[in-house]
Symmetry: C2
């Protein structure tokens, strides 16, 4: 048995125990861990400085180093975030539905933990704490595999989990960190079918593809974030310009940022020059279709490939369409089923767009940047899903649960006549 | 592009259209198909006679031939079953949850179809109609791959779908049947990631394993049905004997039949001889643990392997346990997380058992044979799931749906300060 299989076996056992603890114990453990993280601030900062130094030596880009770096403020945020998750309502034990059958059987559908979650994520120690908090609060054991560049910081956190969980009365294997930092860990974790109930991969497309290719268990994921904003012919221009600006430039590197702007032909000549001026002021490079090109000074011609591209940068593709239906068809064809918006003052158009676009989150008159567990009021999120099974869109505590049918009878059998 | 990829592409297009039709159109199409099946009774019976003849030549067992065989009564049941599904409430469009955020965003979580379903199943033409009805009613396009022995009967049904769907105004590719009957079809369907949203495999363990191994999309399935009945020390013996009899002998070949009986040590000497007498009268072979063996005349000694075996036959393994916890641990270790029951007059024991057993359906004082969509009141079922993601236990119309977030704003952006 490999070290990772042994880890998965231990998680499986821990998960069965963890499922039976009340919310008070799970939440108290989280509060203990939060306090211990605060107290370990010095050790954590020192380990993180070494992580950052090694990544600098490797020539990692500034944005990467920024996500990797811990500060006293970020450590306080990590601890406070765990305390916030601890204070959220218990996601477990809820009776989702309950009914009685004509034969007297009472059927209850009750919310229970999923079991063992494998979480593979980027080099950010703050995510280690978020994930541990969400999984523990939802009664799941978790196997954490953070990016190898954050291993030093993560090991400090793993030591805290290992010490504080038993101190709070919970199995130490409720939260485990894979410690080798090697790529093989990901593949070995993917092979643990029957022990790990679900894998949630977060990070680059390459990583997510590898996990989908090899996982012997269900995967919750999103691959791309090719998000659209469609400016309808009835759009309020001021709203449209502000929303498109926010969706593109407020944080261009994230999955819910806009990559393509679609504009109804009837307003293109009025709207696009104004939009272009705002985008130019933000330093956005525009790749425009043949019709938009002359209306947007300084723009470059778009190719077919642009419609399929997630720039994750201050670059935007722009296309005019002849109808609402053409916008919907473009999004369903080229998009990634993540987050798309319509800007319109016509409620029927908004409705048709929301029904027609096959994406996890479909917005009317607001920015696609709202696709986020925090913004939905979930308190925190483990990720965003763009598949259709189990959970779609932002995933919080409830999306980390399953259900079980508990049926109560008084001697019922399937075929009473046979027994008479 | 392979023929099956082309089929999946067509299903994808059909699914987008199908999702927008109202319940009345989808249900009317089902009623048309049901009537056409009735009218094609003669052709269907002739094709089925040929299917049965070929399977007899191959030496298929009597139970297989019985499932394969159509009769005028069964054809009427197929048609009536589709009409029944047509009359069920629309599973689509329901607002599952709705709330408003402090910034004024109104978030609605709305039930939508999954999209394209791949359904792989046994050689039973009746299942072809059930699956087509459930998928169409839930707004999903479906690619059907029935067992090759029922291909002749299925082709008659596929011709009906192909004719009646466009006649009802729906895309013909909403319901497609794979027609080659070759094994490669299964693997090619599994390769259609991105086009097929989920595969539901039904049948032998070999088939389900193959699908899990190769599928590039989520799979909804159960692999085994190793179901237990635990007779607690406080059990009512008459109830326990009737329930165990029903769970084992009413239809021993199905997945929710009992395979192992666990009995509390304190009642074993009283209970087991009475249970053995009933089981002997039903012709059940008993494989007993060392302690149960002398209490059950005519039983054989059980081996470790027996606790892991799904007999699907009139064979039962029997084990005494020293406590409720030992019963729970045995079930979680050897069971298949499908359906398990406790027989007890003690409500606290029932509660502890239902919380402790990690199975899709956990019963108190009734037979495990109730794990079935019809018995749960779902109207029909596409299968039973034992994994934790998306759907667990019997899967009906609702389990064939996903959801989408539809968010309405009035110009909200993520960072208003940046725009001011």
């Amino acid at each position: 048995m490999s070290a990772i299989q042994a880890c998965a076996e231990a998680a499986r056992t821990a998960a069965r125990q963890l499922a039976l603890f009340p919310n008070s114990v799970r939440s108290e453990a989280l509060r203990r861990i939060a306090q211990a993280v605060r107290e370990a601030s010095g050790t954590l900062l020192a380990a993180n400085r070494e992580d950052v130094r090694l990544s600098e030596e490797k020539g990692r880009p500034a944005a990467f180093l920024d996500r990797l770096r811990l500060t006293p403020e970020r450590i306080e945020q990590m601890a406070a975030g765990m305390e916030k998750v601890a204070s959220l309502p218990d996601p477990l034990g809820e009776t989702i539905a309950e009914w009685t059958r004509p034969n007297g059987l009472r059927i209850r559908q009750v919310r229970v933990p999923i079991g063992v979650i494998g979480f593979i994520y980027e080099s950010r120690a703050t995510v280690t704490c978020d994930a541990a908090a969400l999984c523990l609060k939802s009664g799941n054991a978790v196997i954490l595999r953070g990016g190898s560049e954050s291993l030093g910081s993560n090991l400090v956190l793993a030591d805290i989990f290992e010490r504080e969980l038993p101190a709070a009365g919970l199995p130490a294997a409720s939260v485990q960190l894979l410690r080798s930092g090697s790529r093989d860990e990901v593949l070995e974790l993917c092979a643990c079918g029957g022990l790990v109930d679900v894998i949630i991969p977060r990070g680059g497309k390459g990583l997510v593809s590898t996990v989908v290719e090899h996982a012997k268990m269900p995967v919750l994921k999103h691959m791309d974030g090719i998000c659209h904003t469609y400016v309808d012919e009835t759009a309020d221009f001021a709203k449209a310009i502000d929303i498109a600006d926010d969706a593109k430039t407020q944080r261009p590197g994230v999955c819910n940022a806009m990559e393509t702007l679609l504009v109804h032909r009837n307003i293109a000549a009025d709207f696009l020059p104004r939009m272009a001026a705002r985008l130019a002021a933000r330093g956005v490079e525009i790749r425009a279709c043949a019709e938009s090109l002359p209306l947007m000074p300084g723009s470059l011609p778009a190719t077919e490939e642009d419609w399929r591209t997630e720039y994750e940068d201050l670059i935007l593709s722009v296309k005019t369409v002849g109808s609402l239906q053409e916008a919907i068809d473009h999004i369903n064809r080229y998009g990634s089923h993540h987050s798309d918006a319509i800007i319109t003052e016509n409620a029927e158009h908004a409705d048709a767009f929301q029904r027609g676009v096959d994406s996890a989150c479909v917005y009317h008159n607001c920015s696609t940047r709202f696709s986020d567990g925090e913004e939905y009021g979930f308190g925190a999120e483990i990720g965003i899903g763009t598949d259709k099974l189990h959970a779609r869109g932002p995933m919080g505590l409830r999306e980390l649960t399953s259900y079980q049918y508990r049926v109560t009878g008084s001697g019922q059998v399937k075929d009473p006549a046979r027994l008479a």
